[in-house]
Symmetry: C2
Subunit: 226 residues, 2 copies
DNA sequence: ATTATTGAGATTGATGACAATATTGTAATG
DNA sequence: CATTACAATATTGTCATCAATCTCAATAAT
């Protein structure tokens, strides 16, 4: 048995008591999304426990959280693996995002305050000068800022989960400069529609934005797999 | 400390190894949905472990599963409680169901085989002569049968989760005979539209059905809370 | 040569014990 | 009498260990 990476790349010493599982899940999620944990990789509990310097229990709980996000698959008595990515899965995620996010935006727009739109715009500014690694997170936060006023906790949690799933695909393709440029344009249009409180246009923008993103990623993935 | 119900009301001896958590979750879900576990009730791990005759670990995993379904809320270091029910939550569930289920049906209809429609019709037959306790489960299965051909695992899992959440409200109101009668009519209309592979009509039926259901339940809950 | 079997090793699922945190009841003080 | 500080209790989070299951290679049989 070789030494492994014996210790924690964990950023902030794994939080307090009761937050270890969440911290481990966050770190693993980051790595899976970033692609450093490739699909199909086996996630041994003992191995992860050793790496993070904790027992197997918090690791198990962390894995459960990732299963809920669809980033990890779990066969009873057989262990956990990073889920495969596929065109079908990508398509499904984007279909669901479209349904969930257009619903959230529709409800949120009448409640949206100017300061919240400002906040979204500031995030978009950051996004346009961000590096690969930060793109996914900032992008999610941009969208979430616009949806938050809808005051629907279940729906927002669902959207977050889909965002995590989508980020896996996004990160592999965001290197394509044109994808980012196109995305930025669409975000700006969406912001304008929100400022006007123009529900119809805003939802049309969002729908197009998500469709287009899904298609771009799909093409990229297809090319990469071939 | 009083003896509690020392042992398992569990139906099928709690399955084999690795299925205990799922079995416990299923039993708790049943009780929460049926209303015998009232909202706000504290779910002590030790207590549940004692009651089911197992250790606390499978109980913890079961609680996690219920959290994912939104039936249980979990504060770190403070424990689990049955989530409150509310008009806002009911509304949110039905909004999400509408978005998710109309998407699933839209994709499924072109793939729907006659035998699958027959299966759904058979379930509807059962549903019309079912008792309160079976209503929720059969109702979910009826809907799921129509969606299954869409071949979208994430989406179907999401719909299942929403169904569980909706059943909590459904069970309190299904006693109203007129709700069931109305629901049956709508199911029949939906089946006709599916047989014709008439996507537009089918989705309109489904949307109306879900909206109407949500409104009926909302009125009932409002009345009951007052 | 191919397939079935079986046994060792590895890994997961579950248990009971310990440490940290929250809750509650009591007493002291204004 | 109300309020706050503190101690006792209860409950959760984690750990270390045991038991059951799976993997996989080596062996034997057809």
């Amino acid at each position: 048995m070789r030494p492994e990476r014996v210790l924690e790349s964990a950023p902030a010493k794994l939080g307090q008591r009761g937050a270890q599982a969440a911290a481990i899940a966050a770190e693993l999620r980051r790595e899976i999304i970033a692609g450093s944990m490739e699909p199909g990789v086996r996630l041994g509990q003992e191995q992860l426990a050793h790496r993070f310097g904790v027992s197997r229990m918090p690791v198990r709980e962390a894995l459960k959280l990732l299963v809920a996000d669809g980033l990890v698959a779990f066969d009873p008595n057989k262990g956990a693996r990073v889920t495969q990515i596929s065109l079908e899965d990508l398509r499904e995620i984007y279909e669901m995002r479209m349904a969930a996010e257009s619903l959230a935006l529709k409800i949120a727009i009448p409640e949206l305050s100017n300061s919240q739109i400002d906040k979204a715009e500031a995030l978009q500014d950051q996004l346009e000068s961000a590096t690969f690694g930060d793109f996914g997170g900032l992008n999610s936060r941009f969208h979430r800022t616009l949806y938050e006023p809808c005051d629907r906790p279940r729906l927002l949690a669902h959207i977050d989960s889909l965002s995590s799933a989508a980020d896996r695909y996004l990160c592999t393709a965001v290197a394509q400069a044109n994808h980012a440029v196109q995305s930025h344009k669409e975000h700006r249009s969406l912001l304008v529609a929100c400022r006007n409180r123009d529900e119809e246009t805003a939802i049309a923008c969002l729908t197009d934005h998500i469709i287009r993103g899904g298609e771009t990623l799909g093409r990229y993935l297809e090319k990469q797999q071939a």
